[in-house]
Amino acid sequence: MTISSATTAFSRFGLGPRQGDLVGLSDPRAALLAELNDEAAGQVVGSELSDSPTLYKSVRLIQAARRKARQESAQSADTMPMDGTSTGAGSVETTTGLSIQQIAQVEGKARLRAVKRADIGFVERLVAFWTNHFAVEAGANQVVRVLAGAFEREAIRPHVLGRFGAMALAATQHPAMLTYLNNAVSVGPESQLGERQVRGLNENHARELMELHTLGVDGGYTQADVTSLAKVLTGWSIGAQPRQVDSYGQFLFRRQAHEPGPQTVLGTVYRQPGLAQGEAVLADLAANRATALHIATKFARHFVSDAPDPALIDRLATVFVQSDGDLKALAISLVTADSAWSAPASKLRTPQEFVWSAVRALDLDLPPRRVMAMLRDLGQPLWDPPSPAGFPDDAATWLAPDAMTNRLDAAELMAAQAQGPDDPREFAQAVLGDAMSADTATAIQRAESRAQGLALMLMSPEFQRR
């Protein structure tokens, strides 16, 4: 097949080429498939990274210390901290030794490392897709902010080439998600806790689980199904007692909050006791035909086109059903479809894809906090989407006047710090390859400086479109 070009492999399915990457890629499709078999792909490691329970303990300790400091300063106005920062982790004995902001930066740094290290970046793109599918919002509260990176490492990455059902279960049970969508505090009205009227039902998580994570908004469920699922999920919570070290900061099924008795979801009666009831519903939702169609459509839209070929959606949905939600099979099915390569590059790289590609192309060594600030300025802060629906990825959203001028500002900033060849023409040849148009080549050649030439390269339609 001549249809699969190296530049398409990198732009549509990957994170863009680094210097020298394009030359070495003789069979792009095979290389993408090979990356799926590379056990190191999609892995994030680092001794500075902590697991969720440790991070949860940390944020609770920091919060407790802040409360205490506030109380003390209220008692003695003289000792009130002037800058509001002196009650951070520096003075608190935490499990990580890091402040909330530092934890976010450590996580961002690990993601940046994974982005730069990836061969083509197909698996990292899959990770980003699924993290955005099971979106948590770092800005929701401090617990989610601290756990957002760990959520990706613990609930998404281990399953990114595994089973959808397993990923859905891991995401649903993760403390970040349970906190974000309020299920941790949802209590069955007829449960032991509900009878004492301590708290009650919260259907937020149940609704998004059906609307966004599995069936899709047109997936055929009703308000009654949402309420039933909310009851099914009562008790799915987080261990909050520091003394109970086995469960603190981890998923914990609270029997005393769980709505007893059978529940009917989508016409099926679930009579299982306790945790097994929710696991059974979740497994059925994951295997539902509507879920397959929802995922296949979103997958094709994300990677190929905002208006994907219906035959491609059908192909992906069929594979999803027949493989029992095997996400590796889904990825293989995508890159072995000719229409996934032949569709014109009509999508625009999202801000994150743009920055990752630029960092790789220019071999940038920017401090993670600057990269994260840039992503925020460009409208796509790391792990902080505007809603549970995640960030949009269609061209209509990002192809907007202010977004373009912002991108240009960011491109100039990054171009000024590029490592690599002195001659921007040589640079562009290595990054844009045979996709570079004569107009772009001319514009770069006529640039008044290397930095200007590289900014034009980053902003060229060949680099921006995918």
Partner: protein, 408 residues
């Protein structure tokens, strides 16, 4: 949202960071001047409160005998509680909105209650789609009703062609469509050199006209908005709301500026710890109140020609849920304000709050179609015909009669 505000002070906030954190944006399209016969040069703004605002907590029906019992802990202004701002005796206004209350008393603000779009399910995303597309259902149109309003304005002799302007990183559905819309937010990153911009524009013009169009629009809007104040920092959500409001208002006042605009504020999805009196919702309402005040102040020279519609995708459950919040519901409140509004009253056909009066026994029942309110404004303020309103702006809405007498 409120739990995050203290953190802003620890970072180096940028204007855009505020915008992104508030999840908000502004967008507007311009209207040809003098398009509407007469001496008026009308301005029209829609403010979308994303996440579903709890109308019963914002404009509580304190005169309804079932209100206090139904709402329980969430009730405000009920007998025995701190009084809310007085409206007409039956309804009160949340104490977090003194600015809106003053406008109400001055006859410049009108409150609509128990209103809803035609959407009856409870998905935020579909609900906003219906609110913004103006269609009878979700995902029926790729264009928004305000864009179709801009298109429908008759362009007469001597009227410059319709061009648009928007203050957001992205174009919201409500303004998407054939009539051009630009986007803008105040520059924070170091602006790229004009030389590089020109070169890039030249490249796009040859190679990718769609990108050329948006880049040109971006350059033009940065130039137009060049006079904006240095950013204000450290005030969290209230500052973010006010910044968006002031920036938009400043452009709307301009002689050659835009005439219609859409702003939006996120964060109204109060599933837990709703805090109508002093918590999260009260904070949001106070920020909104401040933003509305900033618009009035900035638009003072043209305030008499201005109508602002404040709307949300749907309301919330009438009863509290189990976590001191409310889940997705149906009917809610909307506000109309501006010097051109015939205000000082609450427009409502109150459905009642007894179990059998609630929609599906859980939500405030809708008795006013939000489109009827918007149609009334668009007909009397912008001069659109009822036919255009019923077929183009809000398709398939012939049965939804415009509300009369909303505009002075």
């Amino acid at each position: 949202m409120d739990t995050n505000c203290p953190q802003y002070g620890l970072l180096h906030p940028s204007r855009r960071m505020f915008l992104a954190s508030a999840g908000a944006f502004v967008a507007w399209a311009s209207l040809p001047r003098h398009a509407y016969a007469g001496t008026r040069d009308p301005r029209f703004i829609t403010i979308i409160l994303r996440g579903a605002m709890d109308g019963l907590a914002v404009v509580p029906p304190i005169g309804d005998p079932d209100y206090a019992t139904l709402r329980g802990e969430l009730a405000i202004g009920a007998p025995g509680q701190e009084q809310t701002l007085a409206l007409d005796g039956f309804f009160g206004l949340n104490n977090a909105m003194p600015g809106l209350h003053a406008m109400y008393q001055a006859g410049e603000a009108l409150i609509v209650h128990a209103a809803a779009t035609p959407y009856r399910d409870r998905s935020h995303f579909d609900g906003q789609d219906v609110l913004e597309s103006g269609m009878p259902g979700a995902k029926l149109s790729a264009s928004g009703w305000m864009n179709r309003v801009a298109e429908a304005i008759p362009v007469g002799e001597g009227v410059r062609p319709v061009t648009g302007l928007a203050a957001t990183p992205t174009v919201p559905l409500i303004l998407r469509g054939a009539a051009p819309t630009l986007t803008w937010t105040p520059p924070e990153l170091r602006p790229a050199s004009s030389d590089t911009r020109d070169r890039l524009l030249d490249l796009y013009t040859h190679q990718d006209p769609a990108m050329a169009k948006v880049l040109l629009a971006g350059i033009e809007t940065d130039r137009l908005a060049g006079g904006s104040d240095p950013m204000r920092t450290g005030k969290g959500i209230a500052a973010a709301f006010e910044q968006i409001a002031t920036g938009s208002a400043r452009l709307l006042v301009e002689e050659d500026g835009p005439r219609i605009a859409a702003l939006s504020y996120d964060g109204w999805d109060t599933h837990s710890q709703e805090g109508a009196e002093s918590g999260r919702l009260a904070g949001l309402l106070a920020a909104l109140d401040g933003a509305l005040g900033a618009i009035k102040e900035t638009m003072a020279p043209v305030w008499g020609d201005t109508v602002i519609a404040v709307v949300t995708e749907f309301g919330r459950t009438a009863k509290a849920n189990g976590t001191d919040g409310t889940d997705h519901g149906t009917a809610t409140t909307a506000f109309l304000l501006g010097g051109a509004v015939k205000g000082g009253r609450v427009v409502a056909d109150w459905p009642g709050l007894k179990d059998n009066q609630l929609f599906e026994a859980r939500d405030l029942a809708p008795t006013i179609d939000l489109r009827a309110v918007l149609k009334g404004v668009l007909r009397d303020h912008l001069g659109l015909s009822e036919t255009v309103l019923a077929t183009t702006v809000f398709p398939d809405s012939i049965g939804v009669r415009p509300v009369d007498g909303l505009v002075v």
